[in-house]
Amino acid sequence: MELLGSIIALIGSLFIFLGAVGILRMPDVYNRMQAGTKATTLGSILTLTGIAIGHMFCGCGLKVFALIMFIVFTNPISSHALARAAHFAGIKLTDKTVKDCLAQDEAEIEGDC
């Protein structure tokens, strides 16, 4: 049981590390947010689950579950607020961007979004 929890926690750490690499390598604020939020959410879920499985004797499973649910609920909200702030502050997209649906909606251009 200890080994299973350790393996799951290690996979979660790997996902958090990939999120860090994504933040370093991506060209744009929005791409960085995409990489840094999703990978980190999955990584923290796996890490906390692995610790709760591996150390089941401590009786902290309910607290860890509450922490996981809090992260799942609040992490998309905070990333959405940051993306909205970056968009309305006029941060430019990269040159490789194909489509910007929110700018089309604001300019009321008809298109397939």
Partner: protein
């Protein structure tokens, strides 16, 4: 553990305010996992409560920073 250390080293590359805000968002989530690792390593259950309070404070701080960057105080 090594992944967290490398992450803290990588994460200080921010050029504008928004990049720093995104990096801080990710870094606090990694810090929560690090605190829970520490509580399992030292066998102190009370540190999980510290992680919960840290999560709440980081969420409120990120939302406040985002509102400030959007339209000012």
């Amino acid at each position: 553990m090594a992944a967290f250390l490398i992450f803290c080293k990588l994460d200080h590359k921010g050029h504008s305010q928004r990049n720093r805000a995104v990096a801080m968002d990710t870094m606090t989530i990694a810090g929560i996992s690090f605190i829970v690792f520490l509580s399992a390593y030292l066998k102190r259950i009370i540190y999980v409560d510290v992680a919960i309070v840290y999560a709440i404070i980081s969420f409120v701080g990120i939302v406040a920073i985002a509102r400030y960057l959007e339209r000012g105080l």
